[in-house]
């Protein structure tokens, strides 16, 4: 029965992916893409990768969707003006076709390469899982995924967070000079009433879920990234409904929040030279408190970064 379920799930995923690729209208494709992200979460659950499932649902089904919808709304305005003049539209479409074919070929090549790589693996695939499980006690954690993210491969996680910040710098630098340091604008002129209601009721529930995700992440699937994404979504829904305006991008508290997590991570990393074996290594007795502290700061940083990424570049002049 589980085999039948898995086959149906795979067939559905492929059909949905085909639909996304074939849909001509951007908005339609984005809606289908969000649905795809939620469905992919189901597939990761079937693969017993619950940590990945949680992240996929939160990022693929949640935040990426809003990001794409905002981008589409921005793109549509200039496109509408273009079609009124009717000139550059044709060229764009011809280029679009070439681009589509090139993208399709590149994607097919990547898929074929991945399939070859997977098929070429020796039958008991090489794994570090037993070693990782054996060393779990020294970190004080119960969830091997969190141990990999914050202890064994902490450097990767640190750099990931820095990349996230760089992405935000990239988005912010799109703002023209006169609005630099000002606030992005998110809410429509009139927010629909049900949305305002949802923005009042959902965030308290969401914050509790985020804290739960963060806390449970030490010993069970969950952790900083999922918790941070939930917090970001809750902040975004409040801003989308216009209950609170987005802060100035030059606001000092916001900047501190953004940098706090990675900075603390880096500081503890360097501290490792003096109190442990080297960069990013923790002394065993206080490994768990240290990891939890880093995770708490990272959760807030991730929440702020993701929310500001979706909010986009500054559109209002900064308040003096």
């Amino acid at each position: 029965m589980t085999l039948l379920f898995d086959l149906a799930l795979v067939a559905w995923l492929i059909a949905l992916a085909g639909h996304i690729a074939m849909t001509r209208e951007d908005r339609n494709a984005i809606v289908a893409f969000i649905a795809f992200g939620l469905l992919l979460g189901l597939a990761w659950v079937r693969l017993s990768a619950l940590d990945v499932a949680l992240t996929e649902v939160a990022i693929g089904g949640g935040v990426t969707g809003v990001l794409l919808l905002s981008a589409e709304a921005h793109l549509r305005k200039p496109l509408a003006q273009d079609s009124a003049q009717d000139r550059p539209h044709d060229g764009r479409r011809r280029l679009g076709n070439v681009g589509t074919i090139a993208a399709a070929l590149a994607s097919a090549a990547v898929t074929a390469g991945l399939a070859l790589a997977v098929l070429a693996l020796p039958t008991p695939a090489p794994t570090l899982a037993p070693v990782a499980a054996a060393a779990l006690d020294t970190t004080g954690l119960g969830n091997p995924v969190t141990a990999v993210l914050l202890a064994y491969r902490a450097l990767d996680t640190l750099l990931e967070k820095v990349v996230l910040l760089l992405a935000l710098v990239g988005v912010w630098s799109l703002a023209p000079d006169r609005t630099w340091g000002g606030a992005p604008s998110l809410a429509p002129a009139v927010a629909p009433e049900p949305l305002v209601y949802l923005a009042r009721v959902l965030p308290p529930i969401g914050v509790v879920i985020a804290v739960y995700m963060f806390w449970v992440g030490a010993d069970a699937p969950g952790g900083t990234f999922q918790a941070g994404t939930v917090l970001a979504a809750m902040w975004l829904i409040v801003m989308l409904a216009g209950l609170r305006q987005p802060p100035d991008t030059a606001h000092r508290v916001l900047r501190l929040l953004l940098v706090g997590g990675p900075a603390l991570f880096l500081a503890v990393g360097f501290l490792g030279f003096f109190i442990a074996d080297g960069f990013l290594s923790y002394p065993e007795p206080i490994a768990k408190p240290l990891i939890l502290g880093i995770e708490a700061a990272l959760t807030l940083s991730i929440a702020a970064t993701l929310a500001m990424l979706v909010a986009g570049p500054a559109q209002k002049a900064p308040e003096p």
């Binding site: 059909a15 969000i34 659950v45 089904g61 905002s70 959902l202 879920i209 939930v230």
Partner: protein
């Protein structure tokens, strides 16, 4: 019992799939907003059943997050949707 749960999850998955394609191929733009709501409830039901079938308690955490983000995405749709009808340059046009 596990097989019954998986069978029910399969039935719900199939029902949701048909509904989703009906909604996504709809000519009425507003109807497509139903897609995420549909997948939210259907996916959560399937996840809960799968969790009960496999005995992995953390599966319900995934269901919790799925529901939360389905609600969030639905709210986010209104954003672009509000812009769609009035693409004219006059921003002062209010609804009657």
């Amino acid at each position: 019992m596990a097989d019954v749960f998986t069978a029910a999850a399969l039935a719900i998955l199939a029902a949701t799939a048909f509904g989703l394609f009906r909604v996504l191929r709809s000519r009425i733009a507003v109807e497509r907003m139903m897609a995420v709501q549909l997948l939210g409830t259907g996916g959560v039901a399937a996840l809960l059943l799968l969790g009960a079938a496999s005995g992995v308690a953390a599966t319900s955490d995934a269901a919790l997050l799925l529901m939360l983000f389905a609600a969030f995405s639905c709210a986010a749709f209104t954003r672009g949707e509000e812009d769609t009808p009035d693409e004219d340059p006059q921003p002062t046009k209010e609804k009657t």
